[in-house]
């Protein structure tokens, strides 16, 4: 009756409205999966205790004939997006018992449609990481190969969709944190245009880079969710909206060849070429382009992001919310609370940011990084005068093994293809188009497409040309 291999938001909507199955029937399938797999996979830190009540309300709405697009659909939310009166811990000990005092704007938009909020999804602590290994509440395993990471920081969100523990989830992307786990787990992940989705109620990590976005099984679903959550918000001064753009009959795809020269797994490169061929066969023109400054994106990112982090994390001082560790005096309250309740990766990035912003270094690091950021943005804008979309692999490798990337710098290098879109604000999608084999297991690898600002429609349009691996 309910085929998880082919289910989409639209097909579930039809079946629920036609009474082919009930909300209870639908949610139970997902709850069974959670029961079977979540203890091992740890995609959810918490499965909410009021699911039965939510199901009742959703079913009533459907019975009255008032259902909306996601009424009764089971969804997961990344642990850094606030849902009123529910715990949001950002997978940190700092916020172990913190109950949100308001709904994030994206949650408000979703709530009025009465989906089923199944639970909060595991993540790297405060969204800092590329593997979900830095969560203070245990790792999340990749459902495709449980010896491997699901990616990060939205690892729980991606794993939940990949293992059918929800039909879609919301994640956040600051340097690749939606796209990379989507690539590692074999699902669709969209980082919308910066500002197109309100950040009100998203715990700020790096405010000029953070974006909330959907993780889904299909491109159609990504579009549905994006359309639901997007929009200008008075409560987010960086939010904006633009009119929808027209689709094109054919797209011109640019490949920054020079950027693919080193540090990329040969199987991933081969898979990428296959995707380019698919696009050619569909009538797209695929050309090599050169964006010389792109290779400096990672260095720029690892100055700007920690700098903003060091500022944003200063609110976690044990005073107004979260946990407090008592010291001898006020200073020690701060330093012990933060020393004990933050994990090492969070502390590392705060220290890096503090260094970059400190007097004597501010000019050489922070100021310089912003200037280069603007130059990269200009280069990208220039490239888009000539081409429609930029294609890159999402990640230089498939999912790595748990514990494999212990060196922080090595972990950071895996963001190399994703950070640029955050620096420039461009929308980008990861499509689960290929697989590479490792030790007899087929690991997903994603194709990344980057579009001009507010051109998500083009990403969806191209996405539909691919046979998404299920």
């Amino acid at each position: 009756m309910i085929d998880l291999k082919t289910i989409t938001i639209e097909s579930a909507r039809k079946s629920l409205d036609n009474k082919e199955y009930s909300v209870r029937d639908l949610v139970d399938v997902y709850l069974d999966n959670i029961k079977e797999k979540n203890e091992d996979i740890n995609a959810y830190l918490e499965v909410f205790s009021d699911i039965d009540e939510q199901i009742e309300v959703a079913q009533q709405v459907i019975d009255k004939g008032e259902s909306q697009m996601i009424t009764g659909i089971p969804i997961g939310i990344k642990d850094n997006i606030l849902i009123e009166s529910r715990i949001s811990s950002a997978s940190s000990k700092m916020l172990e018992n913190y109950k949100a005092t308001y709904d994030a704007t994206v949650i408000e938009k979703i709530k009025i449609q009465n989906p089923i909020f199944v639970g909060r999804c595991n993540m790297d602590e405060f969204a800092m990481g590329g593997s979900t290994e830095s969560s203070a509440y245990g790792i999340t395993k990749n459902p495709v190969d449980t010896y491997r990471v699901p990616g990060g920081s939205s690892g729980g969100s991606a794993a939940a969709v990949a293992s059918d523990m929800s039909l879609f989830t919301l994640g956040s992307d600051t340097g690749g944190s939606i796209r990379q786990p989507a690539s590692f787990c074999g699902v669709v992940g969209l980082k919308p245009t910066y500002g197109s989705v309100s950040r009100n109620g998203l715990m700020a990590m790096s405010s000029s880079l953070d974006v909330i976005g959907p993780i889904t099984k299909s491109v159609e679903d990504a579009k549905i969710v994006f359309d639901l959550i997007k929009g200008q918000d008075f409560l987010d001064g960086t939010s904006n909206e633009k009119e929808a753009v027209e689709k094109k009959n054919n797209y011109k795809i640019g490949v920054p060849r020079n950027f693919l020269k080193d540090g990329i797994d040969p199987d991933v490169l081969e898979a990428f070429e296959k995707d380019l061929e698919t696009m050619r066969k569909q009538g797209c023109e695929v050309v090599d382009i050169d964006i010389p400054l792109l290779k400096y994106s990672l260095a720029v990112y690892y100055i700007i992001m920690p700098s903003e982090v060091s500022s944003n994390m200063s609110r976690y001082d044990g005073v107004r919310f979260g946990e407090r560790v008592e010291g001898k005096n006020l200073y020690e309250d701060y330093s012990k609370t933060r020393g004990e309740k933050f994990g090492m990766e969070v502390k590392r990035r705060i220290m890096i940011g503090t260094y970059s912003l400190s007097s004597g270094y501010y000019d050489a690091y922070y100021n310089k990084a912003w200037k280069v950021r603007d130059m990269i943005k200009e280069e990208l804008e220039k490239a888009f005068e000539d081409i429609d979309l930029i294609a890159l692999p999402t990640s230089p490798t498939p999912a790595f093994k748990i514990g494999e990337n212990e060196d922080p710098l090595k972990m950071y290098l895996s963001d190399i293809f994703t950070v640029s879109a955050n620096l420039t604000g461009n929308p980008a999608i990861s499509l689960p188009t290929q697989q590479v084999e490792r030790e007899n297991i087929k690991l997903p690898v994603g194709l990344q497409l980057i579009a001009p600002h507010f051109h998500e429609e083009w990403l969806f349009d191209i996405g539909l040309k691919f046979d998404i691996i299920k």
């Binding site: 001064g237 005073v319 919310f321 130059m375």
Partner: protein
Amino acid sequence: MISQEEMKKLATLSRIEFTEEELDSMKGDMESIFGYIDQLNEVEVNTDRSSASATERTNVLREDEITSEAGKYTDRMVDSAPKTMDGYIEVKKILNN
């Protein structure tokens, strides 16, 4: 090279308590990361380009007026605090008398 002194100063600025070993390990990590970041020295930047310029960035402002009901959220907010007293958030002594 980041000195031990500098590491201690950064820890103080960050308001984070580290053990000697943690600080030492952090120093190594940071030197390695800034080693990578140093490649930005290769990029020549126009010196009269200000850091907040280039593209159209405008400030989004609103009127400086109170639009919410006084006290509406107070209980909820104070309840979030680790230590409270009589509806106030309790902290250690700030001023030295």
